[in-house]
């Protein structure tokens, strides 16, 4: 087993990995950028080294500097987390060249699955359905038009080199094609340094359902069941649950079998996720395979009782998986709510500032995977994910009521967060009934955003009293009136971040 693992990441996932390492008796090394000096992952690690200045390109993406630290601190393995360099095959290869183990699949697997078209080709060979579309990059408008005619509008244009909604366009009519292709290609080039684009059928009310798979070097490949990830904003998941309230046992087994087949076909090692789109008629299509830990992995841990990070470390060290397919007997229901530094009621405008106070929710069935602390400065340099709240219950109703209870206890002061917005999603009829697709949040978003504060007499009285009390305590200067705060509206234009 490894003695010392360097975690090439920050925030909640770095903390998450360090916790498991500590339980395994493995020393941990954190890396940090200058503004992250007092972030929780630095404080909790055994060792910590500065890797550069604030911008990711100067620090968490600084391959050369990270390699130097790996050598200097004598780490015998690297865990990349998700995002940043986790799916960068050059980094994976460079790490392994220094004689350090890579906690993840082989460079070749990362490369194949990272190229969406190569992945589609590989998967087609296993006989699994993929979303109808092209298997080669589309370059001419003519080819695009022909493909679109063949599979039928609406279609999606997507970037071959990456995800996250970047370079993605929905096209409903032929006359939109030219303009959209051009925009998509320029956006893709900027984001991924790769302007190849391809076409996919646009599905009606699709569900984003993914299967967690695990493989060791001893020919064991196991499915750990599905996650329903259809509540998305900016093409990014915000709420996930398992089991999915949408699919039935038959489809569940079928997806698991296909995911295992795909995993076997690429000689996989470690934790991976096979993503599918499932339309309202139960037709399903392979979407992509993520060759690393997923943000939403905790819900699988809650229902299976398996520590996925521990298994990742063990199989990377050459051990067998601690479970076989028949040991995996999911129990109960788990929901994850991502806590972002953004205002859901103002089109997810990001929020920065100093966290002045935090009250975390606790109790039976409540898990926090946090990456923040009181006094911490939330900077504009990194992903706005502050942490994840996960609840477990015997059944969906219990875990959902527990989530609402826990979010109600959760208070982060100093910055705006997605907590109030997520509370409204969980209380919305479509979530309560488990009837939602990837389009649902867009549909109900305006409804939630326009939601005026409940005209509860007592709340309003409370607010008045609070304001007076606060005014009184401050013994304030006269407050400038009429100088109304500017409320600029924010509109999203997609993420630069990798799909997670």
């Amino acid at each position: 087993m490894f003695c010392k693992i360097l975690i090439a990441n920050r925030g909640e996932i770095a903390v998450r990995i360090i916790r498991t390492c500590r339980e395994m008796g493995i020393q941990t090394v954190a890396i940090y950028s200058e503004p992250d000096r007092t972030s929780p992952h630095v404080l909790i690690a055994d060792e910590a080294y500065c890797v550069g200045s604030a911008p990711s390109s100067e620090s968490y993406l600084n391959v050369q500097k990270i390699l130097e630290i790996i050598q200097m601190c004598d780490a015998d393995a690297v865990h990349p987390g998700y995002g940043f360099l986790s799916e960068n095959c050059n980094f994976a290869e460079a790490v392994q060249k220094t004689g350090t183990a890579w906690i993840g699949p082989s460079t070749k697997t990362i490369m194949t699955m990272g190229d969406k078209m190569a992945a589609r080709k590989l998967v087609l060979k296993t006989g699994a359905p993929v979303v109808p579309g092209t298997t080669e990059p589309i370059t001419s408008i003519k080819d695009a038009g022909e493909t679109a005619d063949k599979i039928g509008y609406p279609i999606l244009i997507k970037a071959a080199g990456g995800g996250g909604g970047k370079g993605m366009r929905i096209i409903r009519m032929e006359n939109e094609l030219e303009n959209a292709m051009e925009q998509a290609r320029s956006e893709a080039k900027k984001a991924f340094a790769d302007d190849r684009i391809y076409i996919e059928k646009y599905l009606e009310e699709p569900h984003h359902i993914e299967i967690q798979v695990f493989a060791d070097n001893h020919r064991n490949v196991v499915s750990l069941g599905e996650r329903e990830c259809s509540i998305q904003r900016r093409y990014q998941k915000i709420i996930e649950e398992t089991p999915s309230p949408f699919i039935d046992d038959k489809l569940r087994k079928e997806l698991s079998k296909i995911a295992v087949d795909i995993t076997k076909s690429c000689k996989y090692l470690g934790a991976g996720t096979v993503e599918f789109l499932v339309d309202k008629y139960n037709n399903f299509y392979f979407l992509e395979m993520n060759t690393r830990l997923q943000v939403e992995h905790p819900i699988t841990e809650m229902v299976t009782g398996i520590d996925l990070v521990k298994e990742q470390i063990c199989v990377a060290a050459g051990e067998k998986l601690s479970f076989t397919q028949k040991d995996v007997t999911p129990s109960g229901h788990a929901i994850e709510c991502r806590i972002y530094a953004e205002n859901g009621f103002n089109n997810f405008a990001p929020s920065t500032g100093k966290i002045t106070e935090v009250t975390f929710p606790h109790g039976l069935g409540v898990r926090m995977d946090e990456g923040i602390r009181v006094g911490q400065e939330i900077t504009p340099y990194y992903d706005p994910l502050l942490g994840k709240l996960i609840t477990w219950g015997n059944d969906r109703q219990t875990s959902l009521q527990r989530m609402i209870r826990a979010l109600g206890e959760f208070n982060i002061a100093g910055i705006e967060t997605s907590i109030p917005f997520c509370l409204m999603i969980f209380q919305h009829k479509s979530f309560q009934e488990g009837k939602y697709s990837t389009h649902t949040l867009d549909t109900i978003k305006n409804e939630l955003q326009k939601e005026v504060p409940i005209q509860n007499e007592e709340h309003i009285l409370a607010a008045r009293i609070g304001a007076i009390q606060s005014h009184h305590q401050l013994k304030p200067e006269l407050i400038p009136r009429g100088n109304h705060q500017q409320k600029t509206s924010w509109a999203s234009a997609g993420r630069k971040d990798e799909l997670r």
């Binding site: 109030p420 607010a463 009293i465 606060s470 409320k487």
Partner: protein, 167 residues
């Protein structure tokens, strides 16, 4: 001491019975109120037995008060303010709706307008990159673009004036 509070244009006058302990009297229905500070910006309030936690953030035009995850903008005037207002001496009420400020620090990745352009309410003005997201900043009003204080590639600080829209 008397205070006047305004929420969404509804004004209510309230007075303290005692400024030393935490009890207030709301002069409409004379309820006893128990409000106690928990931390810099949090208060516990017992109101007719109901327990509320309030978090309060001072804004330039009042206080954002959050009660059970609902946020209200509350303006507070004390006796002196009320008196001044009666004599028509309230502060400057001219609006600066046409000033576009950066709500968070970030990088101006694209600029869609130039001085003299006619823009509509909701039209995109620029893209500000922060937290790995590209955020489109839209015009809050219809009008004509006036002075622009930044260019593409600039880093802006929170609150920095970006441009003016004249209507």
């Amino acid at each position: 001491m008397k205070f006047n509070t305004i929420i969404e244009n509804i004004s209510l006058e309230m007075k303290f019975s005692d400024s030393i302990n935490q009890h207030l009297i709301n002069n409409n229905d004379n309820v006893e109120i128990d409000c106690i500070q928990l931390s810099i910006n949090a208060y516990s309030l017992l109101l007719n037995g109901k327990s509320h936690i309030l978090t309060i953030n001072k804004q330039i035009d009042g206080y954002d008060v959050t009660v059970d995850h609902h946020t209200y903008l509350v303006q507070v005037q004390d006796e002196v303010d009320v008196l001044l207002e009666k004599f028509g001496m309230q502060g400057n009420t001219s609006s600066h709706a046409g000033e576009i400020h950066a709500l968070i620090p970030g990088l101006v990745s694209r600029l869609f307008v130039k001085p003299g352009d006619r823009v509509e309410n909701g039209q995109g003005l620029l893209i500000l990159e922060a937290m790995k997201m590209e955020n489109e900043i839209d015009s809050p009003i219809s009008g004509v673009v006036g002075k622009i204080y930044i260019k593409a590639g600039d880093k802006v600080e929170k609150g920095e004036l970006i441009m003016e829209i004249n209507n």
